[in-house]
Amino acid sequence: MNLNSVSQILDFAIEKEEEAAQFYRNLAAKMGQQHVGEVFESFAREEMEHKAKLLAVRQGNMTLIDSQRVTDLKIGDHLVEVVLSPDLDYKQALIVAMKAEKAAFQLYQGLASSTDDANLKGILLTLAKEEARHKLRFEIEYEENFLREN
């Protein structure tokens, strides 16, 4: 893995988004309950949207915006790992997604801390933030649906 330039980093990130989409598509195909399959399909589509966004950035048609601080609700952090099987439900699907996004966030954070090049560090941290934002979106969905404590 060579990550010595912005374009190499973007290529890497694009590949990661594709892998993530594939991961969700594979899960979708294995689900016993159709409505859970559809949930994973929708996650895969979100990854493809990210991929499209990164492609646009690489082609110079868009810039990555790194403005707001991303809140970490830490909802997924203490939850037990879901054992992947065909009879997952919506709640477990969201846990899988929160954990996957957290892992992606940590990957970019780790890469950022291993380079001294300010430019590369900047782009890696921005990518980390994108993943954190995606995790937050799953955390909110999880909270609104499964942490109403009612």
Partner: protein, 467 residues
């Protein structure tokens, strides 16, 4: 009311007698004791009979509220119960468990001044008064239509559909998985809030009307909906939301960690608190933590207290956000339930025999308001606390059991495992199948389940009449 007739408005809600907290926390008898006829009449007389009653608009089944209040004010209880039952077939239940403070009473014209009419208490009084009379009135029954309807689940949704359809002249059978009819009303809500005798009375009334009640029959296992449809013209699914959620944190499979469903069912349906007279005991615990903040959590915490434990509620948000009815929160506080707000369980800790012995929690703070203006709780690093305990009850929510969806091809199921049905008619994606109540909305309220049942009954009746 003209200027001349303007009389002094009476803004004083009449209190309903209750068992004192220090007495009731040691027994399972009903907490509230109900109005006397005198109190009911006094309270009903406070209603000013608004021309455009805002209370009715906020009642999910549109009871003619000023109508029955007027009858009570006149001392005509027979007339009052007739008006009430015209729209609500379970008034003794609704008078006890409906969140009136969020519905009719909230929009009563006196609400702003804190003197809203105690509509729920009067409803409850009327229903109890009727029960004390020798026989309740039986309605005139129409000729039989020869059409047959099967109902899955004997909770408030299913029972409402059964009552309405039998009165339309159809033959009705209710298939219930448990050994008793009533759904959450019998296995969930505890005796001290809703005496089981009341639910049994309503079920008996349906039996007298001619509804066939079949228990210990799990649709999807004993027989599928499609096989039932070979014999019946239509099916209504009111199977509720009985699949408990857990926190998905480490230690949840330790002994002593219960779902609210299991805990309350052992207590209510199997009469665990009357062990050894009844067979399934509830282990007596010393310190119980209940995770959650809704009515279910309050019921569990107050039950634990009555079984002699120190009982605490662990809730992730603050008191203002508690989803439980305020009245029940206050009852719990008076009885001595401890509340830990802004507290999140992280893990359960077990002893060498696999029993839970402690819970580790983290304190939360409310973060910046989000787009909707709500402030989400965020963990405070380093604020972890450990509470010793010997039981945990998880009361954070439920979803519908997947069995019916999995055994009924073509029945459209939503993300959360709920059956998708038309809000106004209860019609599902499958012909001849209707659904309503918690199985469609997810865990909600008794009155909403009954409202959905009423809509569905009307739609099923239209369908049967067109055959």
């Amino acid at each position: 009311m003209s200027e001349g007739e303007k009389k002094q408005l009476d803004l004083k809600r009449r209190e309903m007698p209750k068992q004192p907290p220090e007495v009731r926390r040691y027994n399972f008898s009903e907490v509230a004791l109900g109005y006397t006829p005198e109190l009911a009449i006094e309270e009903a007389k406070r209603c000013i009979q608004c021309k455009k009653p805002s209370c009715i608009a906020n009642c999910p089944v549109e009871i003619n509220i000023p109508g029955f209040l007027k009858k009570v004010a006149e001392g005509d209880f027979v007339g009052g119960i007739r008006v009430l039952k015209d729209k609500n077939c379970l008034p003794a239940v609704c008078g006890r468990v409906c969140p009136q403070e969020e519905q009719c009473e909230k929009t009563c014209v006196f609400h702003k001044k804190g003197g809203q009419i105690a509509i729920g208490r009067i409803e409850r009084f009327l229903a109890d008064w009727e029960a004390q009379q020798s026989e309740s009135e039986m309605p005139d029954m129409p000729p039989r239509s020869g059409r047959k309807v099967a109902i899955v689940g004997g909770g408030p949704a299913g029972l409402t559909v059964a009552g309405d359809l039998i009165k339309f002249g159809h033959e009705v059978t209710v298939f219930e998985a448990l050994h008793k009819m009533g759904g959450v009303l019998v296995y969930g809500i505890p005796e001290f809030r809703l005496p089981k005798a009341i639910v049994n009375r309503e079920v008996e009334y349906l039996r007298k009307l001619g509804v066939e009640l079949v228990t210990d029959f799990v649709v999807g296992k004993t027989r599928t909906i499609d096989s039932i449809l070979e014999e019946y013209d239509a099916v209504f699914v009111g199977s509720g939301a009985g699949l408990p959620w857990f926190m998905e944190i480490p230690g949840e499979n330790l002994n002593g960690v219960y779902s609210a469903n299991e805990y309350l069912t052992r207590l209510n349906l199997m009469k665990g608190f009357l062990f050894p007279k009844y067979h399934t005991p509830v282990k007596s615990h010393r310190k119980v933590a209940v995770v959650g903040g809704g009515n279910v959590a309050m019921d569990c915490a107050r039950s634990a207290l009555r079984l002699g434990a120190e009982s605490r509620i662990i809730y992730r948000r603050s008191r203002e956000e508690l989803p439980a009815r305020l009245e029940e929160v206050e009852n719990a506080e008076e009885e001595g339930v401890i509340f830990d707000f802004l507290t999140l369980p992280l893990r359960y800790i077990g002893d060498e025999n696999g029993w839970v012995k402690a819970i580790e929690c983290q304190k939360m703070e409310l973060g910046e308001p989000d787009a909707s203006g709500r402030r989400k709780p965020i963990p405070i690093e380093g604020s972890e606390v450990i509470y010793p305990l010997d039981a945990v009850v998880c009361a954070i929510g439920n979803s519908p059991n997947p069995l019916i969806g999995a055994t009924t091809p073509g029945l459209k199921i939503g993300k959360k495992g709920n059956i998708e049905a038309d809000e106004k008619t209860g019609a599902t994606s499958r012909e001849k199948i209707w659904a309503g109540g918690d199985v469609v909305t997810g865990a909600a309220t008794v009155i909403l389940a009954m409202g959905a049942g009423r809509f569905a009954a009307r739609s099923i009746h239209e369908y049967l009449s067109s055959l």
